[in-house]
Amino acid sequence: MNAYDAIVIGAGHNGLTNAAYLAKAGLKVIVLEKNDYIGGAAVSREVHEGWIYSNCSYVCSMMRQAIHRDLDLSRHGLLLVPYLGTVNFGQGEERLLSYHDEEAAYLELKRHSPHDADAMHRFQADLSRYAQLIRKTLMRTPPDPASFRPRDLMELLHLAKQFWSLGEREIYEYIRFFTMSAAEYLEDYFENDLIKAAMATPGIIGTALGVYSPGSAYVLLHHVMGDVDGAIGAWGLARGGMGAISNAIAGAVTEHGGEIRICAGVERVLVENRRAVGVALENGDEFRSRIVVSNLDARRTFTRIMDRRDLPEGIYEKARNFKIRGSSGKVNIALSGLPKFTGVPDNPHLNRGGQAFIGTLETLERAYDCWKRGRWSGDPFVESVIPSAWDPTVAPPGKHWMSNFVQYCPPQLVEGPWTPKRREQFGQTVIDKIERYSPGFKDLIVHMEVRTPHEIEQEIGLTEGNIFQGELTLDQLFFNRPFPGYGQYRMPVKNLYMCGSSTHPGGGVSAVCGANAAREILKDLRCPNSVPEDDFHDE
């Protein structure tokens, strides 16, 4: 009865994408999700009546157009809407406004520093060059650098070719870039502290690194390599919240005959003769299949739902040591009206897009110091967006909700585990910071959902609440993701695969991990490939 070609554990957007492509190739697929809703960290939920939060991820840019187009996600209800205008809040009345119009953007930078306004062009050209190279690796399976198989050699050659096309000087720069900190990298371009701080913030989002930590420059790149309709670095909102992405992909799964089951937490991957043969659910049900795919992070996959004795030597340790530190919090706030911010013109294309409550580079680094000591900063970095100002479907007319992403928030506190009281205190710190820039903000609050790494782990099963299913550092990127030697979605137990953000190219709502894994699985099962190639004709 319960026999399938493939079982996908977890209905995160990557698990769903994986299932959609396996189903599209004609396989009999079931997705098993522990929660009573799908989507994992790409989810929309009505926690407070009338308001629909994107509870975890909140903006979209990494989603690969090729997948959106190929799975016909628009027809399944997905509309990605770019939003405009971000305000960076510095110290006191200092504001850096991001205008959509190029000329206006230039003049605004010039107001802060004529030098930096010019330097921005060079910065963007350099970053675009790096981004272009990385973008081209996204929908490709990383080669195994230690293998002599023709496929790996060809892929290495392909990469080398792309790399050499940068030119000698740029190659050195590029290698240096990977090991630098965001702040140091920006030092080379800019002089104004708020501009540097504003440009540095994507380097720390979701990561247990500080603006001055080596490796944060890459994280910066990871956040700007996406695009919305070809506008590289732009971010958009999903109409209906981020869950609209997962729901649309689920639509594609069903359309192709796949099955999705909620409230079906997997307790164990069943292994016989060193092969994965199915799963056992927490409720005791068993499912059999030719292959098993885990959408869970690497730590969880090997230390929670696998029997250590089923794993080859060393894998358990690798999984245990996989760097997956929780560092972010999220506060979703329902508001009775649109907040007003001091020092921001009453321009509707500016004052309701994104807000980055920064302070200075120093503020960001001090917040990191607190995290290291198991505390949250009294002056945290908060990145916000007001989706309801753009999306009429997520709050009653005239009412709003604000998504506030907080960097940093420790997975455990020095004084002990998270408690509801401490969680509320953390939430209070966040709204205190916003209130400083928006007097009267607190009076608008109708409801608040405060999420520390603890809640994120409990609900979605992201270990420690790490938003990327594992740090995005060089030792865990590309063919090293999740572990060296296992960068091609096949795991140490035969017929077991991984398809979540713990695999290349890492975290973010991109659907790429799931699609790449499907391509490898179909290869192994000798099924025709159903996964499209990426679409880079114009780059």
Binding site: P82, D229, W390, P392, T393, H537
Partner: protein
């Protein structure tokens, strides 16, 4: 010092909504339409396009040509002029039409509003007074009045448009079906509302006397404040209509009366509008030529294409083979569709090749260097964009 403007004779007219639109046209991006100053975009074309697809947005259709056709013979006269059967239009309904020369070539497209048994309104993109007069020849009781400057009109399009009109106080507007006309009282005068538009989405068109235009604008914008209302211009219109698969003069067709070269204009069949041609009704202009064409088959067929890659196929030629040795057509409009996530185009394809393989040769530039690429085209039978809400009655609120 009230010096006379020496350029007065060259300046464009402004629409009744102009004072409000001018304030919102942050970019000073203007073009013109039928002698009126007309917004190309207000803030950003793509942003305005998304207002249409995601919330709601207004488009000033005042510069459109509007004619009242009235009298006992009005219906017969229109029926003689357009290819569709006007007798089948029920009162308070709108019908999309084309009209042709005797050679069956399209003069223009537009909409006919049946306001009463003997009262119609015809709207179209270009002035049509002379042709109407010609068409009225021989009909004793028809009066044609040009309402173009006497009627202001604003199109409200997008998923929240219905909610906004309800908020404006138009009770029962939710019961309007697509192509229905309703009449409301606005400041003691008539506000006509039709569930029509040029975006393929849920939408309405509001018709009002010019001296109430600003009142209507202000009340509409107050009602739409929390529903994302924003004005849009020609650029966003062009994006939305292409996704809906609608044709534009000067893009898909060359107006027949302005065409110099032999058959550089189009027939309804070529434009894939055969469904608008009704041979079962009494004689109409172009009937004989169109009958012959129906027999013979049109030389070209307007075809919807989904094109590989993401580089818009603007001005591309279409070939029957990848080597590009057999040219079979040309692209009329093309864009990357942000909503559908597809590289879409309308193209005129020689009918005999329309079902075969199609390849587009696309030229583009990257940092001053020229590139070209030949990519495969897929034919589409349905509009690229056709959300269920566009047909739903009552429509959803967002």
């Amino acid at each position: 010092m009230n010096a006379i403007d020496p350029y007065a004779g060259e300046r464009l007219k402004t629409s009744p909504f102009h004072p409000r639109q001018r304030a919102l046209n942050v970019r000073d991006a203007w073009t013109s339409w039928n002698g009126y100053q007309f917004a190309l975009h207000y803030y950003d074309a793509e942003y305005e396009y998304f207002c249409i697809r995601n919330a709601c947005a207004t488009y000033d259709i005042s510069p459109m040509q509007k004619y009242e056709i009235r009298g006992r013979d009005a219906e017969a006269m229109l029926n003689r002029m357009v290819t569709r059967d006007v007798a089948k239009i029920k009162p308070n309904r709108v019908a999309y039409c084309v009209w042709c020369t005797d050679a069956g070539r399209v003069i223009d497209d537009g909409t006919i509003f049946k306001l009463a048994g003997d009262r119609f309104m015809l709207t179209c993109g270009s002035p049509c007074a002379a042709w109407l007069e010609k068409s009225a020849f021989g009909f004793a009781e028809v009066q044609v009045t040009d309402l173009s400057d006497a009627l202001a009109a604003l199109s409200l399009q997008g998923p929240t448009s219905g909610a906004v009109l309800k908020k404006l106080g138009l009770n029962g507007v939710e019961n309007a079906k697509p192509f229905d006309i309703q009449h409301f009282s606005f400041h003691c005068h008539e506000l006509r509302v039709s569930r029509t538009g040029f975006t393929g989405d849920l939408g309405y068109e509001l018709w009002i006397q010019p001296d109430l235009a600003l009142e209507l604008w202000d009340e509409l914008y107050a009602a739409g404040e929390h529903h994302g209302i924003h004005p849009y211009g020609e650029a966003a219109t062009n994006m939305a209509r292409l996704e809906a698969g609608f044709i534009m003069p000067g893009m898909e067709f060359n107006e027949a009366l302005k065409t110099v070269r032999f058959e550089h204009d189009q027939t309804p069949f070529e434009l894939n509008l055969g469904w608008l041609v009704d041979f079962s009704k009494p004689h109409f202009s172009g009937r004989r030529a169109l009958l012959a064409e129906q027999e013979r088959g049109p030389r070209y067929t307007l075809t919807k294409l989904d094109i590989e890659g993401n580089r818009p196929a603007e001005d591309a030629r279409i070939y029957a083979n990848k080597r590009c040795t057999k040219e079979v057509g040309y692209v009329t409009s093309a864009m990357w569709s942000p909503a559908v996530k597809a590289n879409i185009a309308l193209a005129m394809i020689e009918t005999e090749h329309a079902q075969g393989e199609l390849w587009a040769e696309i030229h583009y530039e990257k940092e001053l260097r020229q590139y070209s690429r030949v990519v495969r085209c897929q034919r589409k039978d349905q509009p690229f964009w056709a959300p269920a809400r566009a047909k739903a009655t009552p429509p959803p609120d967002c």
